[in-house]
């Protein structure tokens, strides 16, 4: 999104030119293959991301993370370890935080997926995004999209009642810059602004 606002040509835009999958207004959702049928080759799926349906054709091995980044151009979700250890790829599926690197795209098909690109309402940042800015809750920023999605879910789950509980329930998101104290402060601020769930 920032690429478009700046109006210039970024490395990322140049590299993915021609590879962007258009969002399609599909009524049907989910795996297109008849259930209980085997897909040995490419599979047609509908991924519902941030309220829009996207039709993609992927190899069965494709992770949700790779489908988001490489096929839909949604590069906010980050690939850190790609082994389910760092949390940088955290997204919400049907409102629950999961690791997109260990989720097959085929399994996520038809379910409501929320990524960092889907949190803001137009130019108005989500309270958790604003809180991360207000509290300087990042340095390099690589883990930040995963931290923010995880933090939103942490509050919605009711697991942000104390500093200790926030630390415990955010432990699946590693930050090599060690912005942890500021992340806890950001979660506490946003908790009061997110309203009842």
């Amino acid at each position: 999104m920032a690429d478009e606002i700046q109006g210039g040509v970024s490395r990322r835009n140049l590299l993915r030119a021609g590879g962007v999958t258009a969002a399609l207004p599909l009524a049907a959702a989910g795996v297109e293959e008849v259930q209980a049928k085997t897909s040995a080759g490419p599979m047609g799926l509908v991924l519902k991301v941030n309220g829009r349906d996207h039709r993609v054709t992927v190899d069965p091995r494709t992770s949700l993370l790779d489908a988001l980044r490489e096929r839909l151009g949604l590069t906010g979700s980050k690939k850190g370890c790609d082994q389910g250890q760092c949390g940088a790829c955290t997204v919400l599926v049907d409102g629950r935080r999961v690791l997109s690197c260990l989720t097959l795209a085929a399994v996520a098909a038809g379910r409501e997926i929320t990524t960092i690109e889907g949190l803001a309402k137009g130019d108005q940042l989500h309270p958790m995004q604003q809180a991360f800015l207000d509290h300087d809750a990042f340095q390099c920023g690589f883990c930040t999209p995963g931290q923010i999605l995880s933090a939103v879910a942490c509050v919605q789950e009711g697991h942000a009642r104390s500093d200790d509980q926030i630390r415990e329930y955010m432990s699946g998101n590693l930050c090599r810059c060690a912005a942890y104290p500021n992340i806890v402060a950001a979660v506490k601020q946003a908790k009061g602004q997110m309203g009842p769930v």
């Binding site: 259930q35 069965p60 399994v107 998101n173």
Partner: protein
């Protein structure tokens, strides 16, 4: 990752039929399977997605006879279930102290008990010597970095540690595991699900080809409420156990009527310590009696250098867990 076919099944019969043919593996949360497939440790030819069965096998229910946990229930949901928290605290704690909330939201109970060892020589295929991965190839861990390896139930072929937490709670509470396979349904004591490594460490469970775990039954018992899971780790959260203990006690006027002890992070399989339990029965639960029980738990421990600390850490974990359970208001 090597190529595989994806298959989604909608009932048990389809699932079992699909998995009975060679190369088929069940996919639920994927937290073990996809991880190990990326590492080339597991090489599935067909991935059989059983998540559509969650409606039938994803529930939690409790009655006077006990607790039934569907195999496709997610760890995070079971960890916060009111009946589990109130009546089976050792189960709730074993789940909430494991992994991260993202992984707990994904991982099913059936997959959790079948998670594979974290032995670094098993997980890294550039090491050729691993009797679990390549039967007969040897064990790189015996003379390697074995700080996190097992000291109970190990063999001359394998010293890999069972990594999970929930399984210790299940074996401590005499749970049964419900299975469905080509021959129909059967029930097995949970303690018999996992195999000791002995001469064949690549055979990790009593599951038959194509067999699916459909659920767990935990019988109600007077000691289930006075139960807890104590997990000792190298860091405060999001880490496997260096040593852990699942304990449950029935106390009558301060005297132990029944005791249940299982330990984790130290053993080749979920480790029930029946001899140690027997030592406590009829005695007051004191530091001295708890220490005697803890000695018995680790009486047969075999260490390999870096993990020489494990028996002492494990004993102290058992003692603290028993004393904490005795102090509970249950």
């Amino acid at each position: 990752m090597r190529p595989f076919a994806y298959q989604r099944v909608t009932n048990e019969a389809q699932a079992v039929k699909a998995a009975s043919a060679p190369g088929g593996v069940f996919l639920a949360g994927g937290t073990t399977l996809i991880d190990l497939a990326k590492l080339d440790v597991i090489r599935p030819e067909r991935v059989i997605d059983i998540n559509p069965l969650q409606g039938r096998h994803g529930g939690v229910s409790a009655d006077a006879a006990g607790l039934r946990l569907g195999a496709l229930a997610r760890m995070s949901d079971v960890a916060e279930h009111p009946a589990v928290l109130r009546d089976y605290p050792v189960i709730a704690q074993s789940l909430s102290l494991a992994a991260s909330q993202q992984l707990r939201n994904m991982a099913s109970l059936g997959g959790n008990v079948l998670q594979r060892t974290r032995c670094s020589y098993f997980r890294d295929v550039t090491w050729t010597a691993c009797n679990k991965r390549n039967p007969g190839s040897g064990c790189a861990a015996m003379g390697g970095n074995n700080r996190n390896h097992a000291v109970l139930g190990v063999s001359d072929q394998c010293i890999a540690s069972y990594p999970g937490d929930f399984a210790q709670a299940l074996t401590a509470l005499d749970a049964m595991v419900e299975l469905y396979g080509p021959g129909g349904a059967r029930v097995l004591p949970f303690d018999q699900l996992h195999a000791l490594p002995d001469a064949a460490p690549h055979v990790e469970t009593a599951l038959r080809p194509g067999e699916l775990i459909t659920g767990f039954h935990v019988p109600s018992a007077p000691w289930a409420r006075r139960s807890l899971y104590l997990k000792v780790r190298d860091r405060a959260s999001y880490e496997f156990a260096a040593a852990s203990a699942a304990v449950a006690l029935e106390l009558k006027d301060g005297v132990v009527g029944q005791a249940r002890i299982a330990v984790g992070g130290v053993a080749a399989k979920p480790w029930r310590a029946r001899e140690a339990e027997a030592l406590l029965i009829g005695k007051p639960l004191t530091e001295a009696s708890a220490q005697a029980a803890a000695q018995a738990v680790f009486a047969g421990a075999r260490t390999h250098g870096h993990n020489d600390f494990k028996p002492e850490l494990g004993r102290r974990t058992v003692v603290r867990a028993l004393l904490q359970a005795a102090a509970m208001e249950a």
